[in-house]
Subunit: 469 residues, 2 copies
């Protein structure tokens, strides 16, 4: 869909560069079609745009050496972790060298007293949590996919836990970053807070590899709650569910997760997960705290839900019951795909102030109903962020086009409600055209000035975030 | 102390600039000695460096017009809020125009459902909380002084509530900022989270007016907890207190405030506040939650404190008892000054990983004991941040010099423990010399590149944050 130019037609890599990379990296340097193709796509619906070569780096020094070589030869470079991005972030639309950091996957240090860990960027969130086993600690950011932490930082990822634990923005203390010319900087540090100068850590988080390549990061950890309980509750309509969420947050219940799924998503889940949940707008809750406290939280939420017409409030404290409920939520994406066999998903990602969320979803549902599109809705409703999972037949050009037009209307709607075109997926290739509208031309000019200051030759993941001038 | 060059000797303001400012701003433009002197100092111990003129701005458009004029005439500009900064942030060490934004003090909008408020930068934290009265919401960041929110954002301030609610970094959603040439940008937005491009909000937070002048900000609000309780507990030594804090945080008690004061600070408090607290290392706690939950939190903390030798654990739920305890903590600064009548305070601000906090404080106490300096210690111990309040006779040059040398040793010690030279006060004029050591030359070069990209003529608060090249 909406295919950017493939690599064909671009200048080949300079021979001295390929020779230097081949000499240094041997079998870890590849120009094979299979390897290039694998690295020229992500989980978006954009057509692949393979890089000219792939290098498998194993250390900060290697990434630095590759960057210095690419810089010397004016060749673009794109970092690659797990390939789970959703907006064409990894597409080599200007060719160049893909730097695969997935082998940089060691947890370097876990510091229980300080509640932090230093990891290489290829460590995935599940891997980190597996390695934290027995420490009593966990890393909360969960974007669904088992993404690499470097990639999650680069896209400012979040997910279901953000309402309580924040996003990657709040959970990275410091980083090592390789810049366009191969120089290596350390950002931030290990102090919990600091007022010492410009916040380069936050500048790099969300920069999608356009300012630097993250080669190490120190992340915050949290104690595994003494008790966790879950609940699920169906509602007569979207407003009732959203108003429940607003009230829950306003009275200060420290809810850990609060997820909204619409009736169609529930239908998909029932089919996929063999559950028999009511096929109505539904909230999934998770509570963290002491045993008494989670009980109290669930009780308060049940009361609030009841005043908004909540039905079938089902509270689960046993791990197997919790797992069953949340597994169903986690599987929602695949469950949605199952609603239309053979389809691919085009997933939207707007986020609006929560006071506008019900309006935004309702207008979106009306828009969907007026179309022929099949599209369940799942939302991180505590943050005002929701995804419309547009199920399209990739071979049906008209349907694909309709989905893109719908998605565009949704972004316009969200921007009109003081929202953002992307709550957690990032801009990548796909949403660069909304940057001026969302931020204004003056702020976009500042972003361009920063990009130019750090990467004057536009070699780091070119064509992403910033629209062509 | 350590006086920068006063304004004398610098070129006067260009006449066309003063004429243009006088014509537009009338009585809101001043070059009187009294007004200039008042705007050429902060609460640090540095000698004043008055600006050449002061303009009292009342809107974003006015700030923009002043900036455009200063830019056209290559004249420095410094924003001024409440004058409560602590590192010489406001000193006009290169002369120029001070833009006083204290009259931009309107709360523009409070949005209860979205838990946010949009304010002008001169609104102080106490004013905001007063205007939030009756909404059930509050703004938690409390740096002690009744600072302006613009200034708090500019210095990335935090304070006693940061362990639970974060710092200004986590609590600003978006801003309006005037750049060096007078252009106006909007950063961030009202969505709770966004992955749309470079995080200009976080870049401006902590930039101390060197990249832009904040003229509006949208901040996060929180529900006032249903119940608040406080406790105070003395310990046989610093380690016991710090180990209590580590354990409290590690088991996930969602403590709102946890403050450490040393024996000397307690002595000052007893004298100043007529209390009879044990003069030993002491923790002050505050718990937020439901009535049952705060009781449970306090009970858990009391148990942990007891295993570390905690004494006289005193738990207060009645508002008047809580107020009495926390008033004593809030008055600690003045109580400390009272320990040595006629003294001024030179306040340090290092922050280290909490695992190193006891070591850092103990080495610092040993250092103090070896000196003749009198200096109580107060700390935001949940964050690893503590202040040594060095009480010096401003007329005793030898004592002043000794305090500066001590402060320098403390910064070196903290940096050696992976800490920062400033947890919450900022770099200003006073700590620019530590920037290279803390961040490394490569990262400092990036900061300089960003400064140059946004303010190529170095007109915005020049001489702050970045050391002279």
């Amino acid at each position: 869909m909406n295919a950017p130019d493939p690599v064909a037609g671009k200048a080949p890599l300079p021979k001295p560069l390929t020779e230097a990379l081949a000499a240094r990296f041997g079998k870890r340097f590849s120009t094979s079609d299979a390897v290039r193709l694998q690295h020229g796509k992500d989980e978006s619906s954009y057509a692949p745009a393979p890089p000219d070569a792939v290098v498998f780096a194993e250390s900060t020094e290697e990434v630095s050496a590759i960057a210095a070589l690419c810089h010397a030869h004016h060749v673009p470079m794109i970092a690659y972790g797990t390939g789970t991005s959703l907006e064409g972030h990894l597409l080599a639309i200007h060719g160049g060298v893909c730097i695969d950091i997935s082998a940089m996957n060691r947890v370097l240090c876990i510091r229980g007293e300080d509640l932090d860990a230093t990891v290489q960027p290829g460590v995935t969130r599940k891997q980190l949590n597996a390695e934290l086993h027995d420490t009593g600690l966990f890393f909360p950011i969960d974007p669904g996919a088992d993404a690499s932490l470097g990639g999650m930082a680069a896209t400012r990822a979040s997910g279901t836990n953000a309402v309580r634990y924040g996003t990657m923005r709040e959970n990275v203390l410091g980083m090592t970053v390789v810049l366009a010319d191969g120089s290596i900087i350390k950002t931030g540090g290990r102090a919990r807070k600091s007022s010492a100068g410009y916040d380069l850590t936050r500048l790099m988080i969300g920069s999608e590899g356009t300012l630097g390549i993250i080669t190490e990061l120190t992340v915050r950890l949290y104690p595994i709650p003494e008790a966790i309980s879950s609940a699920v509750c169906a509602f007569p309509n979207i407003e009732a569910a959203v108003n429940t969420v607003i009230q829950v947050i306003q009275i200060g219940i420290p809810i850990a997760r609060i997820e909204l799924l619409d009736a169609l998503a529930l239908k998909g889940i029932n089919r996929y997960s063999k559950t028999s949940l009511r096929e109505a707008p539904t909230l999934f809750f998770e509570f963290h705290g002491s045993p008494a406290n989670v009980k109290e939280q669930a009780h308060s939420v049940a009361e609030i839900a009841a005043t908004h017409g909540g039905m079938d409030f089902d509270w689960a404290t046993r791990p197997e019951d919790r797992s069953r409920l949340w597994q169903a939520r986690h599987d929602a994406y695949y469950a949605c795909l199952g609603l239309k066999p053979g389809s691919r998903a085009l997933t939207t990602d707007v986020c609006v102030p929560i006071s506008r969320l019900a309006d935004c979803i309702n207008e979106t549902v009306a828009d969907l109903e007026a179309s022929q599109l099949q599209a369940p809705i799942v939302g991180h409703v505590g943050d005002g962020n929701f995804h419309v999972v547009l199920l399209v037949d990739p071979d049906d050009a008209s349907e694909v086009a309709q989905a893109h037009v719908f998605s565009n209307r949704l972004v316009e709607r969200a921007l009109g409600m003081e929202g953002t075109c992307t709550g957690e997926h990032g801009i990548g290739f796909g949403k660069a055209r909304y940057m001026a509208q969302e931020h204004g031309v003056a702020a976009l000019t500042v972003m361009r000035a920063i990009k130019h200051a750090l990467d004057p030759d536009n070699l780091m993941n070119p064509g992403k975030i910033l629209p062509s001038a």
